[in-house]
């Protein structure tokens, strides 16, 4: 299994029936592919849809049914559509049970930076700041390192997305939980040791006695 699949599969295990969930682009989108068959999750797309389904069959796409990237999707039975004010009312108002986003850096206290690299890449924050500030639970899906450097850092050097700490980071190496300003190693991926994670992580991690192996 590649890194992205490990991350997406592990996050899918956090889903529960009835949850309203927003998935960001990239690895987060892949989470939808691993939803257990026995649960029903509502996926929100911030461009104005709850009940986003898979990519339409050949010839069945419609220009008014799209994901946040503008690409065709389907709507499942029970879907609802709405304007952007309502879409962000759902996000900012705490109605979203879970948001899964990509990350550039997460610091030791759980603060996320994921929307720009000054002087290099300024895509804009889109809905990320509202999602992190408003969702009940925030999970960051990202690879543990970039170009050999830890993305889980003592202090973010990139501009923050929000001062509200995220709840969990899932990487291809580990699950890290943030609580009361500190980071705890909760699980390691199959074949990865606690020492491997510590070595790959710049942030100070609390290591409990019972670090479990990630179930995938």
């Amino acid at each position: 299994m590649n890194a992205q699949a490990i991350i997406a599969k592990r996050i899918a295990r956090e889903l529960r029936s009835g949850m309203l969930v927003n998935l960001g682009i990239g690895i987060p989108t892949m989470v939808a592919s691993y939803v257990p068959g026995d649960i029903h999750v509502f996926f929100q797309s911030e461009n104005g849809l709850i009940g986003t389904g898979p990519i339409p069959e050949q010839g069945m796409a419609h220009p008014t049914l799209t994901d946040a990237g503008g690409h065709p999707v389907t709507a499942l039975p029970g879907a609802s559509s709405f304007d952007s004010a309502m879409s962000f009312a759902l996000i900012r108002g705490g109605h979203l049970d879970l948001t899964v986003l990509g990350g550039l850096q997460v610091d030791q206290t759980g603060r996320l930076a994921n929307w720009m690299i000054p002087g290099k890449m300024i895509p804009g924050m889109g809905g990320a700041m509202d999602l992190v500030s408003g969702a009940k639970r925030v999970i960051v899906a990202m690879q543990h390192t970039a170009k050999g450097r830890s993305k889980i850092v003592g202090k973010c050097t990139l501009p923050l997305t929000s001062t509200r700490p995220v709840d969990m980071v899932v990487s291809e190496l580990a699950v890290i939980i943030f609580h009361n300003g500190s980071a705890t190693l909760s699980e390691t991926a199959p074949g990865v040791s606690v020492d491997d994670v510590i070595a790959a992580t710049q942030a100070q991690l609390k290591i409990p006695k019972d670090v479990r192996e990630m179930q995938l």
């Binding site: 797309s45 911030e46 461009n47 104005g48 849809l49 419609h62 220009p63 008014t64 049914l65 799209t66 946040a68 990237g69 503008g70 709507a75 559509s81 709405f82 304007d83 952007s84 004010a85 879409s87 962000f88 996000i91 900012r92 890449m121 300024i122 895509p123 804009g124 924050m125 889109g126 809905g127 990320a128 700041m129 509202d130 500030s133 408003g134 501009p159 923050l160 997305t161 929000s162 001062t163 509200r164």
Partner: protein, 214 residues
């Protein structure tokens, strides 16, 4: 509400105007109106929209034609031309969190001076903004946005200007329709009055100034 030809509608927009444009990555943007703005060579526009789409799509066309001097948007990541013009100082870009942007537009349309949001507190977004504490929680005061023109795209319009939108093409459209001095609407279908059920009208007719004839 008046029905006008496309050309006539766009001729009303002067260089330097502030436009709000419906659409999300081009979905629900009135492409005919955008094309005509490019054809008429408008300049120095301020555009308020969710994003600048991609080159050749929606607001992206206005970027490529260098019609925009300032963009107030939440996302430009999928349009390299926007990034280039911004980096080269050809176009000013004000990046606003998406939920804040839509609320600032809504506030403008609803006669509110602004709203308080926690989004952006402690980030670069709070720069130059008033902070207000309510019951111990700190918020940013985000002020209302207004435009000279709103360019909206609907699925259905009727003869009195009622508009209804389809699925994810709704997005910013009904919100920008409330926040501009002059509202220009384009629709996939113009239907006789009474065809759109009252509960399915998202933008009431009296809000629309001009409907573009087929």
């Amino acid at each position: 509400m008046k029905t006008v030809a496309l050309r006539q509608a766009v001729e009303m927009i002067p260089d330097g105007a502030i436009l709000m444009v419906g659409g999300f990555m081009g979905v629900g943007t009135p492409e005919r109106v955008v094309d005509e703005i490019v054809r008429q060579g408008k300049r120095d526009l301020t555009v308020i929209a969710n994003d600048t789409a991609t080159p050749g799509v929606g607001v992206g066309k206005l970027v490529s034609s260098k019609s925009i001097s300032k963009a107030i948007v939440s996302h430009i990541g999928l349009n390299p031309e926007t990034q280039r013009q911004m980096m080269d100082g050809e176009m000013a870009v004000e990046l606003v969190p998406q939920g804040t942007l839509i609320e600032r537009i809504r506030a403008g349309g609803c006669g509110l001076g602004g709203v308080l949001t926690q989004t952006g507190v402690g980030t670069v977004v709070e720069k130059d903004k008033q902070k207000i504490v309510v019951k111990g929680t700190e918020y940013l005061l985000e002020t209302a946005l207004h435009a000279d023109f709103a360019l909206v795209h609907a699925f259905l319009a009727d003869y009195v200007g009622n508009l209804s939108y389809a699925l994810t093409a709704r997005n910013f459209n009904p919100v920008v329709a409330m926040a501009a001095g002059t509202v220009i609407a384009n629709a996939d279908h113009i239907v006789p009055t009474g065809v759109i059920a009252p509960d399915h009208v998202a933008t009431p007719g009296p809000i629309v100034d001009y409907l573009i004839a087929n």
